[in-house]
């Protein structure tokens, strides 16, 4: 089944800019997305650098308050909507979903290309709004501030998010149909890799949740442009209605970010312990449980908002429930290492980093789900630290782990192992130094979105900024060596990790149509024990 070296792969099958911009090959589209999301990651990161520099001193002295407010808003908007939500599904998912299920492409290759264009147009609209002065509402766009009081580019930014939402819906739709219809013969649901289960669950959230944020943006624009009273009480509206609608999407959006990350981690742990994931079925069902329960917990963002205490009580108990499937996954990954054959490669370091940081993020999620404590920590740096542990410690660690693991598959080249291990350590240390002090700050009462702050918080803020500079270096190193390895990296074998999985049965990099012959599947996804028995 292995291709001969002479057969063209997807990278050199044809050349020229239009062969990329008009491609319908899911692998090339994944590369287009990789370039786009990397741009937005560094744009969002640039805003973060300025934020952390400002917070070195208690006085608001580096930038004006107005500028600071725009910076944290644009950091949030860019990172959430243009990096974290698309990153794993659109890059790794696009590349791997067809390969992992033995298909030649996604079910709708043209819609897949359209989704990248829609994402890019949405991103450019928001980027245009940023260049023209940006927006200062916070990424949460709370009303009536966003609809009546802000003098910044609310509608333009919202339009960018509105447009990009459709790329999310298209990707989700494509994955669901592909996973239902294009699985290789013999690839039953419980033979699917957990990466696929996670992407299936994510796709459900994408197509069910995204329309709600889309509608909400339209309502904000209507009130802002035409003073139709929807959210502003001065116009007869209800500001809490906005919060309900916003979080009905934006809480599940956290699972759009973290479910695919969990899928990646399952693959990494299995590959580098050379072992079936412990409790495979439970991990698969946990993804579905998270996707479903994730839609029922939005009110935990509103415990002090003025919603009824009974509503708050219900949302608190449901939020406790959603923690359970996440815990089940963590226990199962840990148990997978038991009696494994563990290889200390970079992707596994990232996976372990993910498990550690996600565990802290998840457990501090219990702190904010506990009603009596949330009253105190709500809207403080405790919450900031908590969600960065999930989104940065979780999603970005998993993304980088996945990128290293599948880099040989995507490019046919190896990355420099020493630099990769070093940067993984730098990122882990820098991340904790940045965000751990923020838990302490939050419980002390430091509110979020503060341009200036009382002096007694300075030492912890300086620690956090110092950590951020280490973290920044940690992110730049992989950027450099990945670019380097594309040209100068050592050519690798088709399967450098000795991993099982259909994606490793194709050549590295794969030919344009992935498989000359569609594989026939006769066993589970992580059959390392069988592989040994077969002597392979």
């Amino acid at each position: 089944m292995k291709n001969t070296a002479a057969a063209p792969d997807y990278l050199n099958a044809n050349y020229g800019i239009w062969s990329w911009l008009l491609t319908t090959d899911h692998k090339r589209i994944a590369i287009l997305y990789l370039i786009s999301v990397t741009f937005f990651f560094f744009l969002g990161g640039f805003f973060a650098v300025l934020l952390r520099l400002e917070l070195l001193t208690p006085a608001g002295d580096l930038v004006q308050a107005d500028t600071y407010n725009r910076l944290f808003t644009m950091h949030g908007v860019v990172m959430v909507f243009f990096f974290l939500i698309p990153v794993i599904p659109a890059v790794l998912g696009n590349f791997l979903v067809p390969l992992m299920i033995g298909a030649r492409d996604l079910a709708f290759p043209k819609i897949n290309l359209a989704s990248w264009y829609i994402y890019t147009v949405g991103g450019l609209v928001t980027f245009w709004a940023i260049l023209n002065g940006g927006v200062d509402t916070g990424w949460t766009f709370y009303t009536p501030f966003s609809t009546t009081f802000s003098n910044t580019y609310v509608i333009a930014t919202g339009l960018g998010i509105f447009i990009t939402g459709f790329s999310s819906i298209f990707t989700g739709l494509n994955f669901i149909v592909t996973i239902h219809r294009l699985r290789a013969p013999g690839l039953t649901w419980f033979r699917l890799p957990l990466f696929i289960w996670a992407h299936y669950a994510t796709s459900l959230v994408m197509i069910l949740g995204t329309p709600v944020i889309t509608i909400t943006i339209v309502l904000v624009a209507l009130e802002r442009a035409f003073h139709i009273g929807i959210f502003d009480p001065a116009l007869g509206g209800d500001p809490l209605l906005f919060q309900h609608l916003f979080w009905f999407y934006s809480h599940p959006a956290v699972y759009i970010m973290v479910l695919p990350a969990m899928g990646v981690v399952s693959e990494l742990v299995a590959a580098f312990a050379r072992k079936r994931i412990f409790g495979y079925e439970f991990v698969a069902y946990a993804s579905i449980a998270i996707a479903v329960l994730g839609f029922l917990v939005w009110g935990h963002h509103m415990f002090v908002s003025g919603q009824s205490v009974y509503a708050a009580t219900v949302f608190s108990v449901l939020s406790m429930f959603v923690a359970i499937p996440s815990a089940v996954k963590v226990f199962n990954w840990t148990a997978t290492l038991y009696r494994g054959s563990i290889s200390y490669q970079t992707p596994l370091l990232y996976a372990l980093g993910f498990i550690g940081l996600f565990t802290i993020g998840g457990l501090t999620g219990l702190v904010v789900a506990t009603l009596g404590v949330d009253v105190h920590v709500h809207d403080t740096y405790f919450v900031v630290a908590h969600f960065h542990y999930i989104m940065v410690g979780g999603t970005i660690m998993a993304y980088l782990g996945g990128l290293h693991y599948w880099w040989p598959k995507m490019t046919g080249k190896l990355y420099p192992e020493f630099w990769a291990k070093l940067s993984a350590m730098i990122i882990f240390i820098g991340f904790n130094l940045t965000f751990f002090p923020q838990f302490v700050l939050g419980y002390l009462g430091m509110p979020r979105r503060y341009h200036a702050y009382p002096e007694e918080f300075q030492v912890l803020h300086v620690l956090s900024s110092a950590g951020a500079s280490i973290l920044g270096v940690g992110y730049l190193i992989p950027m450099v060596y990945f670019a380097w390895s594309m040209r100068y990296g050592k050519r690798c074998e088709p399967n450098p990790w000795g991993a099982v999985g259909l994606e490793w049965e194709a050549a590295s990099p794969p030919p344009p149509h992935n498989f000359d012959q569609i594989p026939v599947v006769s066993g589970g996804p992580y059959d390392y024990a069988d592989k040994r028995n077969r002597g392979g």
Binding site: T140, P144, L366, Y443
Partner: protein, 317 residues
């Protein structure tokens, strides 16, 4: 050291210790599980490292017993967190009967306070030690949030409705007051101080200013100035319903709907009288939208609430 690098906030209210105890419980559970997981990962990482290149893992597939255990045990622990958290939350949300009522109006970017005795402050709030104090709060513009970390209390302050927060201070001192909901350009400067004083000192502080009318008296004056009393009279209910004992009472509206008359309902009925008319009355009341400031509205409100108290025989403060 303590001043340079504080690690834990002061406890200065009657509920701070119970919030902290709950926090320590959740953190304790978190530390236990973090150590358990990190310890297992590191142990397995070292113990089961690959010794030869072709080695694969043992065929361990799973264990239903373990799956049930690590579902049920965390579920039970989180239910304890939930129950305990709800208990603390209810005590934070429900002011004790007889709490002294202050009024707060928030706007971009200041906090305006009115004491029941009539004294007003901006970005400074003086309160007596040990007395339960209930703040009834509203906003003139966007959403703000009243947050005093030393008291472990926080509540959003919304335009168009009233929200409440309560505390009983337990230690004299000066404590940070923050706005915790992002509210625009000067959000980070929308703060101030809460000063807790011994009751005797507080009385002296109140008396330090030239004598003022109490909130209730000011409200009564507005009530007659605006001619509210031509229709809402204690002796007749011909044109408008009686306001005596109204707050907290169930009222029937035209169309049969029932609701509990709370502060937000009374505010709405002053500004938009046609919205929820009491059954049996014509919608003839004029609107006061744009004619009364939020401060005057809370003064009226405190007068209307005082009507209930005298009728119920409860002594005013």
């Amino acid at each position: 050291m303590e001043e340079l690098l504080p690690l834990f906030p002061e406890q200065a209210s009657s509920l701070a210790a119970s919030v902290d105890a709950l926090y320590f419980f959740v953190i304790g559970v978190s530390v236990f599980f973090s150590v358990l997981i990190a310890g297992s990962l590191i142990y397995f990482f070292v113990r089961y490292r690959r010794r030869e290149a072709s080695q694969v893992g043992s065929p361990v597939h799973g264990s239903v017993v373990l799956e049930i255990a690590w579902t049920v045990i965390p579920l039970a622990i989180t239910m304890v967190m939930f129950g305990w958290g709800a208990k603390v939350f209810f005590s934070l949300s429900r002011p004790p009967a007889g709490a002294t009522e202050f009024y707060v109006v928030a706007k971009q970017w200041m906090w305006k306070f009115q004491h029941p005795e009539g004294r007003r402050e901006i970005n400074e709030l003086h309160v007596p030690l040990g007395v339960p104090i209930k703040l009834t709060m509203t906003s003139e513009d966007v959403i703000h949030s009243f947050f005093v970390p030393a008291f472990r209390v926080k509540a959003d302050v919304l335009p168009g409705r009233y929200s409440t927060v309560w505390f009983a201070a337990t230690r004299p001192g000066r404590y940070h007051l923050f706005c915790a909901e992002y509210c625009g350009a000067e959000h980070s400067r929308m703060g101030g101080w809460v000063t807790v004083m011994e009751p005797s000192e507080y009385e002296r502080w109140l008396a330090g200013e030239s004598p003022r009318r109490t909130l209730v008296a000011t409200g009564e004056e507005i009530f007659s100035q605006r001619a509210c009393n031509t229709c809402h009279r204690p002796d007749t209910e011909v044109r408008g319903p009686s306001l005596i004992g109204l707050v907290g009472k169930q009222v029937r509206l035209t169309g049969g709907r029932k609701l509990i008359a709370d502060e937000t309902y009374i505010r709405e009925s002053i500004l938009n009288p046609g919205a929820k008319v009491v059954a049996g009355y014509e919608p003839i009341m004029p609107t006061f939208q744009g004619q009364l400031s939020e401060e005057e509205l809370v003064q009226l409100l405190s007068y209307i609430k005082s009507l209930g108290k005298s009728a119920g025989g409860e002594s005013a403060r």
